[in-house]
């Protein structure tokens, strides 16, 4: 096993990976931008190396600086987390050249799975159904021709990456041009390529993904499916496992399809294959996520398998010890993503200092958090603050458990989607399990938080009024700290 691992990420996923390394006795190295100087992951690691200013391009996305940090600290492997460089073939190749293990699939597999069109072609070749669409990025001139072949509604997708960026739904040929231009710009900004694919758009599909582990010696196990249908503009908000729509027969078919695609692609390490499930139970291959997913804890709670430990062992050249018959799915798990965003401002990211933080402890509830009281939430990075994952023997208890956890979770400072999440969990259609990617647009399109009750105004007034009268002239800080004066002193 590796003696030292560098985690090339920040926030909750770096905290999660650093903890997994320490549990296996591996020394850890964190990297941080100037904006993250005091964040959780920096202080959790054995060593921490600054890699540049807040701007991601010049820190977390800067391959050179990250490899310098790895060489300087003698790290034997790099875990990329998700996002940033996690699916970047150049980064994986650079690690290989520097003789540092990249904890993920080989560069060429990253290349292939990153290319949506290539992945579609592979799937078709293996006889796994795909949605009607183009296997190659379209040029502007041929867009209308393909659109007519595939039929409407049509989905425009960035070939270079997912997460909703560079995606547009087009319902009629007259909207095609404007949507294509807008999608191309967003794709270029997000993935450095404005290549766009066309694809049949399913009206109210379920988004199902299968978690797979493969080692270098041809061993592979699948660890069940996760459902991620509760999305807003292709950004996942609530995920769960197993899926209410997947019976054992379909689970096996989905799993075999996922295994075939990843084996054929020469995939190694942890990978996820995404499918769309339509109303009459047919599924279509969507794409390969060549990384550890944000929602991976759902699978860990159901199977008891620590996916990061498995990733570390596979990357260190160990064979998969886990056998398929040992993998059993127990109970139900639901995950809510806590974002620093303002649902009333069209879910625009929000910023501010975490003045007060209370992350509750409940039996059966896991909180993977990346923030600390006093931390400044900046606009530079993805607004995901933490994930709350509730497990229980059945779905309704898991939802009730998650609901309680979110109600007692307190973040004062940046506006968050905690109230929004609770309303989603309370919705009868969500409780019924009849989910689809249309759920949020259908039921929460113009959601607004309830205005504070009269009593809340009164309590606030009392706290504000009296607080002011009594304290020193300057307004009462969130935490009145004898060290305020020191705030200006930077660590040497």
């Amino acid at each position: 096993m590796f003696r030292k691992v560098l985690v090339a990420n920040r926030g909750e996923i770096s905290v999660r990976v650093l903890r997994a390394c320490r549990e296996l006795g591996i020394r850890t190295v964190a990297v941080y931008s100037e904006a993250d100087e005091d964040s959780l992951h920096v202080w959790l690691a054995d060593e921490a190396v600054p890699i540049g200013p807040a701007d991601p391009e010049r820190s977390y996305l800067h391959i050179g600086r990250i490899l310098d940090a790895a060489r300087a600290t003698g790290a034997e492997a790099v875990h990329p987390g998700y996002g940033f460089l996690a699916e970047n073939p150049e980064f994986a190749a650079a690690c290989q050249d520097a003789n540092i293990a990249f904890i993920g699939p080989p560069p060429e597999v990253l290349e292939a799975s990153g290319d949506k069109a290539a992945a579609r072609r592979l799937s078709t070749r293996l006889g796994i159904p795909v949605l009607a669409g183009t296997d190659h990025p379209v040029r502007d001139e041929e867009a209308l021709h393909h659109a007519r072949r595939i039929g409407f509604p049509l989905l425009l997708k960035a070939a270079g990456g997912g997460g909703g960026r560079g995606m547009r739904v087009v319902r009629g040929s007259e909207e095609l041009a404007e949507a294509l231009r807008s999608a191309r710009r967003e794709a270029l900004a997000a993935f450095g390529t404005d290549a766009i694919l066309l694809e049949r758009y399913l009206e109210r599909p379920r988004h199902i993904e299968v978690q797979v582990l493969l080692d270098r010696y041809g061993n592979a196990v699948h660890l069940g499916e996760r459902e991620c249908s509760i999305q807003r503009r292709y950004q996942k908000v609530i995920e769960e496992a197993p899926s209410a729509a997947v019976d054992p027969g379909m689970r096996e078919r989905l799993a075999q399809a996922a295994l075939r695609i990843l084996r054929e692609a020469g995939y190694v390490n942890a990978g996820t294959v995404e499918f769309l499930l339509d109303r009459n139970g047919d599924f279509y291959f969507l794409e390969v996520n060549a990384r550890l997913q944000v929602e991976h804890p759902l699978t860990e709670l159901l199977t008891g398998v620590d996916l990061v430990h498995q990733q570390l062992r596979i990357a260190a050249g160990e064979a998969l010890v886990l056998r398929q018959e040992e993998v059993t799915l127990r109970g139900w798990a639901v995950e809510a993503r806590v974002y620093a965003e303002d649902p009333e401002r069209d879910f625009a990211p929000s910023t501010g200092t975490v003045l007060h933080l209370y992350e509750p402890h409940l039996p059966g509830v896991r909180v993977d958090s990346g923030i600390r009281a006093g931390q400044r939430i900046s606009v530079h990075y993805d607004p995901l603050l933490s994930k709350v994952i509730a497990w229980a023997p059945d779905r309704s208890t898991a939802i009730a458990r998650l609901r309680q956890a979110l109600a007692s979770y307190v973040i004062l400072g940046p506006t968050t989607n905690l109230a929004f999440l609770q309303d989603v969990l309370d919705h009868p259609v969500f409780a019924s399990g009849d989910l689809s990617t249309a759920f949020l647009p259908d039921h929460f399109a113009d959601w607004h938080p309830d205005p504070p009750a009269e009593e809340a105004f009164a309590l606030a007034a009392a706290l504000v009024g009296c607080g002011r009268a009594k304290t020193s002239p300057q307004p009462p800080e969130g935490f009145v700290d004898p060290w305020d004066r020191l705030r200006s002193w930077r660590l040497g």
Partner: protein, 165 residues
């Protein structure tokens, strides 16, 4: 002790408040109602409170003139203002401000154009994500303050609207 008067605003609702400390409790007049509130600190930023016979454990923190109150599972952000400035000049002009720093990539309306509620006005790109800013209600575009492609700070006015009935 003289009662303290100020305004507490939550989004577009502003309430004039009068607060008077009386021995162990606080008399609050707000929106025509009167509350007798008792408050007891029980931990850092945590207070046992009671009003009208009901009790809440609340979390409270402040930063400058912004005050954050968490009760019954919800967090509300209040702004303290000296006096009633009247809600932003809604009846006439209303700026659709950039919610955060970013680049205004495209303006989708012209001056004078009438827009319906929800109709896209401009596109703001922040952190590689394009958010479409929409009209909060039926209005006429009064002025466009920013050229496409310019970087704006959070809260900057981009398009000014005049509400229409």
């Amino acid at each position: 002790m003289r009662p303290e008067r100020f305004v507490l605003r939550w989004r577009d609702r502003a309430v004039e408040v009068e607060v008077l400390e009386e021995s162990s409790q606080v008399r609050v007049r707000a929106a025509g109602r009167e509350f007798l509130v008792s408050i007891r600190p029980v931990g850092p930023n945590v207070y046992a409170t009671a009003a009208d016979g009901r009790r809440w454990l609340v979390h409270f923190a402040s930063e400058g003139d912004r005050h954050f109150l968490h009760l019954d599972g919800e967090t509300h952000t209040f702004a303290r203002e000296v006096s009633i400035r009247g809600p932003e000049p809604e009846p006439s002009g209303q700026d659709v401000r950039a919610p955060m720093p970013g680049v205004v990539t495209r303006i989708l309306v012209q001056t004078g154009q009438v827009v319906e509620r929800g109709e896209p006005l401009y596109v703001l790109e922040a952190m590689k994500m394009e958010s479409v800013m929409r009209a909060p209600g039926r209005a006429r575009v009064v002025a466009i303050r920013v050229e496409p492609g310019t970087q704006v700070a959070g809260g900057a006015a981009v398009v000014e609207l005049e509400r229409l009935p």
